[in-house]
């Protein structure tokens, strides 16, 4: 309880300090916290700005599409490679190597291939989210205790039963971590793509107000997006913790 008070006090002090520093300075460069609520209201009410809810919706749908693709392809390829260890041995190093490449270097190529529309954002979000998912499946399958599988097989369990009853529970924690990282990275991918050039979405909106030098609105949007991302991440963290508990 005291800790919570200290934390709140720290946040309050940080905001107050920033307010004092920013007040006398150029408001285009330094946005005082007190001017953010007004900017939020202007974002919601001013007709000269593109509608916020619509663009936020577009971004969330793009993230959902990118993440869904990443999960389906990641789980699919991961399980196929898990079935045939030879494939995993051959392709896991290639996938891990590609994962080591800083992801931004792919984006210009995706922009060229898929244009400035949502397709390039879905592709980038997919690419970023895919790697942690597929690598988590592989790691999870490799970490499953071989003895458990042998015991289950000797008791006459079918291949599917082994997958569902033995391997999945054993790897649930690892898998959930991978799925969570994948979601975070798909989100980053879509947002980065939108900020680097787009015609719709929250990133487009940020660029729009930013180019008008309406910095308080930009800060308000950044805080809003940050809050949405945090909520998603905390929810994913809860699910991950539960999966780890279940997996034991």
């Amino acid at each position: 309880m005291r800790l919570l008070l200290w934390r709140a006090a720290f946040l309050g002090a940080a905001l107050a300090a920033w307010e004092v520093i920013a007040r006398p300075l150029n408001p285009v460069l330094y946005v005082a916290p007190s001017s953010v609520p007004g900017a939020v209201l202007r974002l919601l009410s001013q007709p000269d700005l593109p509608p916020l809810a619509e663009h936020l919706g577009i971004t969330l749908r793009t993230i959902a599409a990118a993440y869904a693709l990443a999960v389906v392809v990641g789980l699919g390829l991961g399980f196929v490679m898990g079935f045939w260890p030879l494939l995993a041995q051959a392709y896991e190093p290639i996938i891990a190597g590609l994962y080591a490449v800083p992801s931004v270097v792919w984006y210009p190529s995706l922009m060229l291939l898929f244009g400035l529309g949502p397709a390039s954002k879905v592709a980038f979000g997919f690419l970023l989210g895919f790697f942690p998912v597929v690598l988590a499946v592989l790691a999870g399958m490799q970490q499953t205790d071989r003895h458990l599988v042998t015991v289950a097989r000797s008791m006459g369990a079918s291949r599917w039963a082994i997958y569902w009853k033995v391997m999945l529970p054993a790897m649930a924690g690892t898998l959930a971590s991978g799925l969570r990282s994948g979601l975070a990275l798909s989100t980053v991918g879509v947002l980065a793509g939108e900020l680097l050039g787009s015609r719709a979405g929250v990133g487009f909106l940020i660029n729009h107000v930013y180019n008008l030098l309406r910095t308080p609105e930009y800060v308000a949007l950044a805080v809003l997006v940050a809050a949405v991302v945090l909520v998603i991440d905390v929810a994913a963290g809860r699910i991950e913790a539960r999966a780890k508990q279940w997996s034991g």
Binding site: L29, V104, D233
Partner: protein, 247 residues
């Protein structure tokens, strides 16, 4: 035997992708304007190298500067926060929150503040790298065996000795791991800031090539930077192991 099979499989897959791509692009299945055949990309490697290597050099210098800032702040603050329980518990939730936020949201502000200049890319790189470093160093210092600290204090060590002889050596693997991860983040931050703001460097060059629909050059540049990145990561991992062995 299995090793050979794996190598053959890897080689055959890469060759097959290359051949199918080449055929599809030449045969008109893929528009060569967007997806040039690998042979055209390979032919572009030479001219691109002349164009891109100086830009890559500039980007790496900025990365180095941003990385140095991030290591200084991240490791320094991490050592202090990791060892001080109450401040750590007060501040860390905010650090973790910032760590998990997409740093690209801050890039426009950085550019506004510092202008379309290399300094903005440096700060962008530092911002991307500082949080992963800080979080890992704090974790590493926090997890130093308490008994080591108690023993050292009981023997009357000063604060500096405690850091130099106990905390830093014990947390070294975490510090080195954080610095390795941080290098990649700094590179990403610099590239993204260059792309966003149009600051001269490798990121902006690739962005320009994409907007100019110069697919062979862009793919060749992407291949170059990918090979370079993977080589760097492997090299860093190698050094990490050697430094870890010193302990």
């Amino acid at each position: 035997m299995e090793r050979v099979t794996v190598r053959v499989l890897q080689g055959a897959t890469l060759a097959a992708i290359g051949l199918v791509w080449e055929a599809a692009s030449r045969g008109g299945l893929l528009d060569p304007l967007f997806v040039p055949p690998p042979s055209a990309v390979a032919a572009a490697l030479g001219p691109v190298a002349a164009l891109a290597l100086p830009r890559l050099g500039e980007t790496l210098l900025k990365t180095l500067a941003g990385y140095a800032i991030a290591v200084g702040v991240g490791v320094g603050l991490g050592l202090v926060l990791g060892a001080a329980r109450t401040p750590r518990e007060v501040v860390m939730p905010y650090v973790t929150a910032l760590y998990s936020l997409p740093k690209i949201l801050l890039v426009p502000w950085v550019v506004l503040l510092l202008g379309v200049r290399p300094q903005a890319a440096v700060l962008g790189g530092a911002l991307f790298a500082v949080f992963p470093i800080l979080v890992q160093v704090v974790g590493g210092v926090r997890d130093v065996e308490p008994i080591l600290l108690t023993m050292a204090r009981a023997m009357g060590t000063t604060r500096w000795q405690l850091y130099g002889k106990v905390i830093v050596p014990a947390a070294l693997p975490a510090i080195l791991a954080s610095m390795r991860v941080g290098a990649v983040f700094a590179f990403v931050g610099v590239l993204l800031t260059e792309m966003f703001a149009g600051i001269r460097g490798m990121g902006f060059l690739m962005h320009q090539l994409a907007l100019a629909f110069n697919a062979p050059f862009l793919f060749a540049a992407t291949a170059m930077i990918s090979v370079f990145s993977v080589a760097t990561v492997l090299w860093l991992a190698h050094w990490n192991r050697r430094l870890g062995a010193w302990r």
